[in-house]
């Protein structure tokens, strides 16, 4: 299994190491640094690297590399999943020299400790859907799917046994479950039946991909052009609502990686504000929300390096947005029932739809 673990920050310092077996010298990380150098961008470092005596399996999270050293044939996914859990733990936390240390659990159900007690018993569910899409130049959808999750925050005393049912469970045909869910009940009745872990956890994640089910809530009109033999170009984009189910689209941000030859951009937004970083060539337009009466647009001139050939390819637009109180797939929770305990819990469901990797080619 994992022999050792090194944590490396962006400037290449190994600031933490842990060895489960014998100590492996830090110098093994040199192979990693070598790969990092080759990769140019930090995100492009390959996750599995072989060295003469070890394998390095790494993940990149929050500007940190978690590099594990492996000596035997192991499932790399096992290691990567584990590293992500380690990263999750660090995120949650302060140092572990707290005043109370977590005690081990002795319970018949591995994911829930015994003797949980709350004065206010609550069960909340967040249905979060992200739309991944690629829209081509002409505005038609090349690819679209919805990645959904139901995150739960459960603070219930004792050993509650919950059943969550949906108005339209048929939508869910590709689902990953938290181990607490009874698979058989789902198979036969399409009901999520489970004894929940205590606190926050991800109950299910799902994917809706059949194209006619994926609504695309925004459209973008764009006109980006560079003139031949001239040091300027035009940039003009407008965003409007499409299949938004009558809800407001808010939190819109447009990010564009402009071609290298772009020196600066001189634009006017009808709403929101924009920035252009001449070093990374990233244009960010913070739009806010769409009011259908006056569609937000951003237009103006692009200054190019003089003498350089005009860019071959127009940049892709990366769109972020958010729609409250809507699960774009149409998924709706029907009811939540609790068995096994006598008290009456507070219950609540929230829906939100966001853009995931939402790209518009121009």
């Amino acid at each position: 299994m994992i022999h050792s673990l090194f944590l490396i920050n962006c400037s290449g310092d190994i600031f933490l190491e842990k060895h489960w077996k014998s100590v492996v010298s830090q110098s093994v990380c040199d192979y990693f640094f070598e790969a990092q150098e080759k990769a140019a961008d930090v995100e492009n470092v390959p996750p599995v690297i072989s060295t003469p005596h070890h394998y390095l399996i790494s993940i990149y999270r929050d500007k940190l590399f978690f590099v594990s050293v492996i000596q035997t044939e192991v499932p790399p996914l096992f290691v990567i999943e584990f590293l992500h859990r380690v990263a999750d733990t660090f995120q949650v936390g302060s140092s572990n020299v707290g005043d109370t240390l977590p005690t081990g659990q002795l319970s018949n159900i591995p994911w829930r400790r015994a003797g949980v007690k709350y004065t206010n018993n609550e069960a909340y569910f967040d249905v979060v859907e992200e739309i991944d899409a690629i829209i081509d130049k002409s505005g038609s959808t090349v690819f679209a799917e919805i990645q959904g999750v139901i995150d739960a925050c459960i603070k219930l005393s004792g050993m509650p046994d919950l059943s969550l049912s949906f108005m339209n469970p048929r939508l869910l045909d590709d689902v990953s479950f938290h181990p607490c869910i009874r698979f058989k009940r789902w198979e036969s009745e399409r009901v999520l039946s489970f004894i929940p872990p205590d606190g926050n956890f991800r109950l299910i994640s799902y994917r809706v991909s059949s194209q006619n089910l994926v609504a695309i809530p925004v459209y973008v009109k764009h006109n980006i052009s560079f003139k031949e033999n001239s040091s300027c170009g035009r940039f003009d984009i407008t965003i409007g609502p499409k299949q938004n189910m009558g809800k407001t689209i808010e939190g819109i941000t447009v990010t564009v990686h402009m071609p290298k030859v772009v020196l600066n951009m001189n634009l006017t937004p009808t709403q929101g504000s924009y920035t252009f970083d001449p070093v990374t060539k990233v244009l960010t337009w913070d739009v806010g929300k769409i009011t259908p009466q006056k569609l937000p647009s951003l237009k103006g001139l692009v200054n190019l390096q003089s003498g350089a050939p005009k860019p071959e390819e127009n940049p892709s637009l990366n769109i972020q947005f958010k729609i409250q109180q809507l699960a774009i797939s149409g998924l709706k929770v029907n009811r939540l029932d609790m068995y096994g305990e006598k008290y009456k819990p507070f219950k609540g469901v929230k829906y939100v739809t966001k853009a995931g990797k939402f790209q518009v080619r121009t």
């Binding site: 014998s22 990769a39 961008d41 599995v48 044939e73 999943e81 240390l101 002795l106 991944d132 181990p179």
Partner: protein, 942 residues
């Protein structure tokens, strides 16, 4: 209150202060002090001086304090082994504490203390904990065994912990089962040949029950363990699959992929006509697609595996093309893998979409990715004929962009398109020629030169173009030089009048001014050809070229099958079997897919090579019975798999078949269908095992009277693949002459005549020494036996595997191709006995890296029997000695091509029915070792 307070004080005398606090009477103060000590320790300060004081705090019923002290112990025990012994008593006591949490904590910590001196004292407490009434303690103890094994393997074996661990697989608690499996898998990793995870239907049932209830990590271990099991029939396979499929919906991607492995492997046993087979196929797609929405690192591993899965079973993901479309902000390693899979899934149905995407990618920023996208367009053209035209025009569009590397890649792939579709797209040559000057990469230059030479008659200024390259001839890379030489010779043969000077120039550049032997050789050959017989030269140089095959980078089918067994592991990421890269080369254990049970399908191989492909064009091994036999041999090395009943074995058995029937009734075993000798199931009881081999002895006795061991005939070419001609055969070596014993059966309705045979070049130059003599026409349903003498003076080409032989057989109906693996011992020559002194010197002389170690199990023979058996197959014993009760034989053999192989064979007489032979082979050409070992195994077990 924050935690930072523990990290602050750094004033002088800190250690002294802490010491005082640690010895305080007040519990709270003690606890605070220990926390400070731990805080100092984690930031790297040396607080080892406090060892005795901290250990003193250990005797407390405060769990929190105890945890802290244990943490300290784990850290410093290694550097303070003598003091660590002080803690032993507390461990022993804690292991009997009424609180199971403390018992578990103690046993967990024990495992983390990597000090040899202490481990011995910990055996008793560990033994108790393994049998603890509380499952939490048992599951912790199970892992502790694996940790202890890493420190002192011998100790663990001597103490019998391995057996206790095996018992825990039947524990009532699923977590305990999972941890026991995890511990055993970990231990088995360092003992690949041990029978630690001996699986039978009962234990499988236990594992499947535990699978539903244990943690995600435990599930991974259990699934990986299940994947090593071979179900006895398709029913059992199906029932396991049914119980594994719910795992496909697990949130942990490693669980999902391990489940996919089990299903992919067991599916092999299910008949394709089964409804369930179709259901399973459908169930596999969604989880694989879901893996692609995970973090990029997970996506990468998933994609590498999907690459294998789509090669093995393209039907699973054929409708999911779109999920492999590349997003511009995917990491480059994800982009490249997605592209690869897009090509594999490309078909007539989706080619338009794929092409549109590829064209989009070809204008992206990342150079590596753009290159691969352009190449992919070319591969589409070659793969999907209907799309070729569109691909070519897309490539031409890209050439118009004039982006240097795009143009170069495009030219490289267009050359391949010309090879695939001759006389179709040559109209684009003019456009290509316009870009001649911008080519600066050898591969693109070479491709362009090839095109000019190949189509010289259609390019008016071909001579000028080629001449322009000639100026800097010596600065070009070898690849370009060779192409240029050939191209100019082609040009000369096509337009001899105006290019005489040019050809002389290039020939003299290649032969007189070059240091490169390849170039010189090729130059001389052309020169001589042109000067002696220009007509022959034309026939040779301008010969019609075979078409290039559909997909160039498919993984060879036998390797693919092996890799499918390794889904989810490093091997699947590297697309190499573990034996090729795992440290120490312990990976001799080959895994193979279980054979399909329905006999009608057993001969069906994963079809990739078009049956008409001429041998030599494709190194692909067309898997035949021969391979299957090889796999079975390998199987025997692995974890014991009760010999899968093979419906096809009866065909291979030949002479042994009769015996097999007799045996079956003798043993009365429930599911023993006499397998080929090598697959004697290790799980059969000892007496049966020895009885069996005694009988086999008899048969081999008969066989060896006149020469080397002869394997029973196997079907090499099934009738359905050869228009009714069935060929089975085997290889023999008798008194110095090798022959191929063939049995031809006419299963068609017409008479067959005009037989002929030819071999492709192979590793040892095997070739027919006489033409294939079939005296009379072969009428329907008639069988003839022919012995075809062979020699070893044919042309040589290294094959993969080494002993692969590709054969073409012709008759009045058609030409048929098949390939087979010959046992290496037919190449062991009669004068293979090395002189004693010579042996010693050679042994020393061959570097140790060339030594390969193997084990031959279940071979209950003594030294004399081994010696005489091997001698009849020309493996000669040079010396024998006895070391500590073990017989050591020193042996030599020589191959027909003069390669010597030296062997040391150690015979460990243990239980008389279960003897292990240790074989060390040394040879200057180490790649033969594996095959020599197989020959040993075959000879000794028959």
């Amino acid at each position: 209150m924050t935690d930072s307070k523990y990290f602050t004080t750094t004033k002088k005398g800190e250690i002294f202060e802490l010491k005082a606090e640690l010895n305080s009477d007040k519990k709270e103060k003690k606890k605070e002090a220990v926390k400070k000590v731990i805080a100092s320790m984690t930031v790297g300060k040396d607080v080892s001086a406090l060892f005795p004081d901290v250990v003193n705090c250990m005797q407390t019923d405060n769990l929190e304090l105890k945890k802290l002290v244990y943490l300290y112990l784990m850290n410093y025990a290694k550097s303070q082994p003598d003091m660590a012994i002080m803690a032993v008593n507390t461990f022993v006591k804690d292991c009997e504490d009424p609180n199971p949490l403390i018992r578990a904590l103690a046993v967990r910590t024990m495992g983390c203390i990597r000090v040899d001196k202490i481990t011995e004292y910990l055996c008793e407490p560990l033994r108790k904990c393994l049998k603890d009434e509380d499952p939490y303690v048992r599951k912790t103890a199970a892992v502790c065994v694996a940790k202890l094994h890493d420190i002192n393997a011998q100790l663990v074996e001597d103490q019998g912990f391995l057996d206790t661990l095996k018992d825990l697989i039947s524990d009532s608690n699923p977590m305990v089962v999972a941890n026991a499996v995890a511990a055993l898998s970990e231990i088995a990793e360092s003992h690949p040949s041990s029978n630690l995870l001996d699986l039978n239907p009962q234990s499988i049932n236990k594992l499947l029950t535990a699978l539903n209830e244990c943690t995600e990590w435990g599930q991974i271990f259990i699934l990986d363990c299940l994947a090593n099991y071979t179900p006895k029939d398709d029913r059992e396979a199906q029932s396991i699959c049914e119980r594994v499929t719910p795992r496909l919906s697990h949130a942990n991607s490693a669980v999902v992929l391990s489940a996919v492995k089990v299903l992919m492997k067991f599916m092999e046993m299910l008949s394709k006509d089964l409804d369930y087979y179709g259901t399973l196929l459908k169930k596999l797609a969604p989880p694989l697609v879901t893996l692609l929405s995970a973090e990029p690192e997970l996506q990468y591993v998933a994609l590498r595996n999907i690459n294998l899965i789509v090669q093995k079973r393209p039907e699973i993901l054929k409708h999911e093309m779109k999920v492999f479309f590349v997003k511009y902000n995917d990491p480059i390693y994800v982009k490249l893998e997605k592209l690869d899979i897009m090509i594999r899934l490309a078909s007539q149905a989706n080619i338009a979409q794929v092409l549109a995407e590829l064209k989009e990618y070809a204008t992206e920023v990342d150079v590596d990715f753009v290159r691969k996208a352009v190449r992919a367009i070319g591969r589409c053209a070659i793969k999907v004929e209907q799309s070729a035209e569109r691909c070519v025009s897309t490539l031409l569009d890209l050439i118009q962009t004039k982006v240097n590397y795009v143009v170069q890649e495009a030219i490289v792939v267009i050359k391949d398109i010309f090879r695939k579709y001759p006389n179709k797209y040559e109209s684009v040559i003019a456009t290509l020629c316009e870009n001649l000057d911008s080519l600066d990469e050898p591969e693109a230059r070479a491709a362009m030169i090839w095109i000019v030479g190949e189509y010289a008659e259609r390019i008016d200024n071909a001579d000028e173009l080629l001449e322009s390259f000639l100026e800097g001839f010596h600065d070009e890379s070898t690849q370009v030089q060779l192409q240029l030489l050939t191209a100019i010779v082609k040009l000369f043969l096509k337009k001899p009048t105006e290019t005489q000077e040019l050809v002389q120039q290039v020939l003299s550049l290649a032969t007189q001014d070059s240091d490169n032997p390849d170039l010189r050789d090729r130059g001389y050959i052309y020169w001589r050809l042109l000067s002696t017989d220009p007509v022959a030269a034309k026939e040779v140089v301008l010969a019609e070229k075979p078409l290039i095959s559909e997909e160039t980078d498919l993984i060879e089918p036998t390797l693919l099958d092996e890799l499918i067994c390794y889904i989810g592991t490093l091997a699947s990421v590297y697309h190499k079997p573990p034996s090729a890269f795992v440290e120490g080369g312990r990976g001799v254990v080959h895994k193979s897919l279980p054979p399909r049970t329905a006999s009608s399908e057993s001969t069906e191989s994963p079809e990739t090579a078009p049956a008409g492909a001429p041998p030599g064009e494709q190194p692909d091994v067309i898997p035949t019975q021969g391979d299957l036999l090889g796999d079975l041999l390998n199987l025997d090395l692995g974890p014991p798999v009760s010999g899968p009943p093979l419906a096809t074995t009866s065909v291979q058995m030949g002479a042994v078949d009769l015996l097999g029937g007799g045996l079956d009734s003798l043993i009365g075993g429930p599911n023993f269908v006499a397998p080929p000798a090598a697959a004697v199931p290790a799980s059969l009881g000892a007496p049966i095992g020895s009885g069996l081999s005694d009988l086999f002895d008899l048969t081999s006795g008969v066989g060896t009277l006149s020469g080397s061991y002869v394997a029973p005939k196997a079907v090499w070419l099934p009738a359905m693949k050869a228009k009714g001609l069935e060929i089975s055969g085997t290889f023999t070596r008798q008194v110095g002459s090798i022959s191929m014993d063939l049995q031809l059966t006419n299963k068609a309705l017409q008479v067959m005549t005009d037989f002929a045979i030819q071999f492709n070049r192979n590793s040892f130059g095997l070739a027919p020494a006489a033409p294939l003599q079939v005296h009379a026409p072969l009428s329907p349903n008639q069988t003839v036996e022919i012995s075809l003498p062979l020699n070893t003076v044919g042309s040589v080409m290294k094959m993969e595997p080494l002993n692969n032989l590709q054969v073409a057989v012709k008759n009045n109906i058609d030409v048929f191709y098949f390939s087979t693996l010959y046992p290496l011992h037919i190449l062991f020559v009669e004068d293979g006995k090395m002189d004693r002194q010579m042996f010693l010197a050679t042994w020393k002389d061959i570097p140790n890296e060339n030594e390969a170690q193997f084990q031959i199990r279940d071979c209950p023979l003594n030294a004399e029997a081994v010696s005489s058996k091997l001698q009849s197959s020309n493996i000669f014993t040079i010396a024998k000695r006895n070391v500590e009760g073990q017989d050591m034989l020193y042996q030599s053999l020589k191959l027909t091509n003069g390669i010597w192989v030296l062997a040391e064979l150690r015979i460990q007489p243990g239980n008389p029915s279960f003897t292990v032979l240790q074989l060390s082979l040394k040879c200057r050409a180490p790649e033969v070792s594996q095959h020599v070992y197989q020959a040993y195994e075959t000879i000794l077990k028959n």
